[in-house]
């Protein structure tokens, strides 16, 4: 399969890239790892008059802690996230997530920024980023702006990014006190999108009660789903089996899955419940061990 015709641009700087996006506003797409965009263009599910390849712009691939935050460059490869010592030690929920995205070969090119900017509710990073309360940095003609992840996913394949903005950084709050997170995914085989998947992140207070809970679901609706009722329910409670079970039930009620080859609505909702239970249990274990 061959994509429809387009013009390819390979800017050497971020401002040049933004300039090209502004110049071809509405007709241009950012090419990052290309592991979602190129299949889309090949299958002719989408067209783009111009591709702006950010692959040759220096300084967009990094993982570092700074100012109480983990900062991930927008073009950081999933394979780099998976292999990062700091991610594995301090942000295991991110390592959980990277390890189940597509397959190891795809992860050599696929990027963290692309996984979010694509706006696909079946992608894995969105739920994780919702659970940890991330922010994304968008760079456009007027410079940088920070977008809280809660307001980032606006619709199916739609995000808060303007057509001439590039997702250049993801910021995640550094673990505070006793906190931990986990991402659990059910897939038919390596490389498939989730039948259901859940991200959970908890912070525990001095008495072991939950002071903050972040819970989100993958591939359970037109956008990644933030399970707010479940989050609120856990607030101030001891995260015992009964509380986790009730939170998972509330999370599964927030799911709006559609029936497809991966299962019926009932099955997917039930899997969302089971996986939220598992993600919460693991998150609490990690928080208690922190």
């Amino acid at each position: 399969m061959i994509p429809g015709p387009f013009d390819y641009h390979s800017p050497k700087t971020l401002s040049e890239a933004v300039g090209l996006l502004s110049q071809h506003k509405g007709e241009a797409k950012v090419l990052s790892g290309g592991q979602s965009l190129l299949p889309l263009l090949k299958l002719r599910l989408g067209t783009a008059g111009h591709l702006v390849d950010i692959g040759r712009i220096p300084g967009l691939e990094y993982i570092k802690e700074e100012g109480g935050m983990l900062k991930i460059g927008g073009r950081t490869r999933e394979s780099a996230l998976e292999a990062s010592d700091i991610v594995r030690k301090k942000y295991p929920i991110l390592a959980d997530t990277a390890a189940v995205i597509a397959d190891p070969i795809v992860r050599n090119l696929a990027t963290v920024g692309g996984n979010l900017a694509h706006g696909d509710p079946a992608n894995d990073h969105p739920a994780t980023m919702l659970a940890v309360g991330a922010q994304v940095v968008a760079t456009g003609p007027k410079g940088e702006r920070t977008i809280p992840i809660d307001g980032f996913f606006t619709g199916l394949f739609e995000t808060a990014l303007e057509p001439d903005e590039i997702l250049t950084e993801i910021r995640i709050p550094a673990p505070a006190g006793k906190s931990g997170g986990a991402y659990v995914k059910l897939e038919r085989k390596v490389g498939d999108f989730a039948t259901a998947a859940a991200a959970a992140h908890v912070t525990l207070g001095a008495g072991g009660e939950v002071s903050r809970a972040g819970i989100a679901l993958t591939n359970a609706g037109p956008t990644p789903i933030k399970a707010e009722a479940a989050e609120k329910y856990l607030q101030g409670k001891k995260p015992d089996a009964a509380a986790i079970s009730e939170a998972a039930r509330l999370a599964s009620q927030a799911a709006q899955p559609e029936a497809d080859r991966r299962g019926s609505v009932e099955y997917k909702r039930e899997m969302a419940r089971v996986l939220t239970t598992r993600a919460l249990k693991k998150a609490v274990e990690r928080a208690q061990g922190a």
């Binding site: 190129l38 795809v106 050599n108």
Partner: protein, 158 residues
């Protein structure tokens, strides 16, 4: 549609081509450079038959634009054999009967080659994890895993 002059080092040999923006790397390799060892399988980023190394990392060449490889190094299955002598990974697939129909083999060998670059003694699980993006429709995975480990053992014995 724009045309691009590109220079790519393929198996250590410098090559030049003028390509359309939309030409895929796998088509550049097969149709322009006539290196047909790299196979096109599913053409949808699933099967890994088209796996080649781009700057040393395995990638699915059906999901990379040829122009993205400009100024970079590509290694294909044709780059494994040196001076008429099979690479240990090829020898491994031969000795352990790592192929049936052979269609997935070039991709399997490139992924296996890349694994051995970073892991000289991979466990069965290490190999299975590494090739989890390469499909064998003959389902001959047991011998493929043996082949990669055979290659690892041979390389260690050198």
């Amino acid at each position: 549609m724009s045309m691009h002059e590109i220079r790519v080092a393929v198996n250590g040999e410098k090559k030049e081509a003028e390509v359309e923006s939309r030409l895929l790397l796998v088509h550049l390799l097969r149709e322009v450079f006539r290196l047909t060892g790299t196979h096109i399988g599913c053409d949808t980023t699933h099967c890994g038959a088209c796996t080649v190394l781009l700057d040393g990392h395995p990638v699915k060449s059906c999901t990379v634009l040829a122009v993205q490889a400009d100024g970079r190094e590509v290694m294909t299955v044709e780059g494994l054999e040196k001076d008429g002598k099979l690479h240990p990974i090829q020898e491994g697939f031969f000795q352990e009967h790592g192929l049936q129909c052979g269609y997935c083999t070039p991709g399997m060998m490139m992924t296996g080659y890349a694994l051995l670059e970073t892991n000289a003694d991979p466990s069965e699980m290490d190999v299975r994890r590494a090739i989890s993006g390469n499909l064998c429709r003959c389902t001959g995975y047991v011998n493929i895993v043996k082949s990669v480990r055979h290659a690892a053992a041979a390389a260690r014995a050198k």
